[in-house]
């Protein structure tokens, strides 16, 4: 599978604390990957390095073969990013906000892409709404529409369904899956909702203390850690029972399955 994202040896330190410690990460074209781990595991820092918003202390990120360090702008053309916690820019109507971002992505007439994106998530009625009037779920949906206007090869979502009602979260998930299938977009997502991760992703990476401690299909990882599901693995790692890269009873140091 042709990779859209290759990250090698990513390291990031904040005041002597190593937030990310040698992360290697590859996402193939059209692949759906979840990045999981307890709070402070280094997920968001890893994502922000992939996006070019934070420079790594060591390591390299390539997006569709373009080096993030050498050409951030060219690499960013292949990525779309949305986060559940980010608001819309104030004092703009939804269609104005999306038009602005469409043009930032270099699309002279982003109207058709905006209409298609709003329709995909069944929020056409929000086109004239002002940003501050939107609920958090609606903001998330508009954020994902924004992230996909330029048909990115890689969609990066940080906590896309955080604090959403279950019905809205389901709509977000369905829209994302439909988008990935229709456009062949690869997905890199973080979430604290393990059931959502199991539905959304084909492959899961577990981070703990800034390192990838497991990489594989959700059910395979659960089995490897002798847990029923990903939530069990998550709780296991959150309790810091496994700071080293070793599964219970195993001698392996590499969990790539």
């Amino acid at each position: 599978m042709e990779p859209v994202l290759v990250a090698r040896g990513l390291v990031k330190e904040y005041r002597r604390t190593r937030a990310v410690d040698g992360v290697d990460l590859t996402v193939g074209a059209g692949e759906r990957v979840a990045l999981l781990g307890p709070n402070g595991a280094g997920k968001t820092t890893t994502l922000l390095m992939v996006l070019g918003a934070i420079s790594p202390d060591a390591g390299e990120v390539e997006v569709c073969g373009v080096s993030q360090r050498r050409s951030r702008s060219a690499a960013a053309e292949h990525i779309g990013f949305a986060a559940g916690y980010l608001p819309l820019a104030g004092e703009l109507r939804v269609h104005e906000y999306l038009t602005m971002y469409g043009r930032i992505y270099g699309i002279p007439d982003p109207g058709p892409a905006i209409a298609a994106g709003l329709a995909r998530f069944r929020i056409e009625h929000l086109a004239e709404a002002m940003g501050p009037q939107l609920s958090s779920g609606q903001r998330t949906l508009v954020g994902i529409v924004r992230a996909c206007l330029h048909r990115p090869r890689l969609l990066v979502l940080d906590e896309p369904t955080a604090s959403l009602d279950p019905d809205v979260a389901a709509r977000v998930r369905d829209g994302i899956l439909e988008l990935c299938d229709a456009e062949g977009t690869a997905l890199l997502v973080t979430s604290h909702d393990m059931r959502e991760v199991e539905r959304l992703s084909e492959r899961v990476l577990f981070l703990a203390q800034g390192r990838i401690v497991a990489d594989g299909r959700p059910e395979e990882i659960a089995a490897r850690f002798d847990r029923e599901d990903l939530e069990g693995v998550f709780l296991h790692l959150a309790e810091d029972r496994l700071p080293e890269r070793e599964p219970p009873g195993g001698q392996q140091t590499d969990f790539h399955l």
Binding site: A76, A89, I104, G106, D109
Partner: protein, 282 residues
Amino acid sequence: MSGTADALDPTRPLPAGPRRSWLRVRAIARRNAYVLLREPHRLFDVTLWPLVDVLMFGALAAFVGRGGADGGQQAAGYLLAGIILWHVVYQSQIAVSTGFLEETWTRNLLNLMVTPIRETEYVGGVVLFGLAKLVMGVGLMAVGAWVFFSFDVGGIGLALVPIAAVLLVVGWAISLLVIAFVLRFGHGAEALAWGVMFVLMPLSGIFYPIDALPRFVRPIALALPTTYAFSALRGVVDGDPLDWGLVGIGAIGAVVLGAFATWFLVRMLRLFRRRGYVTRYS
């Protein structure tokens, strides 16, 4: 679809080049225009405050000029021309600074930083919008000075152009420094956007020669490009031909300041990325 057809399809991203950069510049300028129009108090910067300044300094000029002596007329010219040209620095600086601060206030910075927009394109957008605000604010002041006090700033003639150009570049350079400090120190540095102007105003000798300043601050005043621009302005108001020497020193100072501000901003942006300060705004 072929590459050529893609390039012509307005619903697909343009290839890299000036057309795409211009599209991004306009997108940022338009976003700032929406904010200005939808938040009426922002219009105070280009309507109410400029008019208040014209009224205050015009009234002071009228009071000083009541003696009827030539000195009164001269002071009136210094005050009104000085305050109108001061707004070139003020408006150009504040428009770019607050344009950037808006992204931090609305937590839009991360969204922008992960798009392909280049820093130069972003600054180009806020500068373009700032120019529109500048024309509004300074234009209104010129009209106010003429209507309220029969002072025609246009009477200064073409000499206004190089003087205003120096002041414009200084305003932009200060805004880049303000943005750099906000990137480095966060919200605590926002006050600089306004505060630095209060420091610069008296030191630049807008209404008076810097000999009028206390001796110990004169070296600082002499280091400011604005000092030379306003000195040249006073000469023109006195009826003398434009002193190109003063304008030249001011222009060189403005370019040096601009180059330093750009270098400093690039350094702070690197530090911002290296230390992960973007998380302050997300």
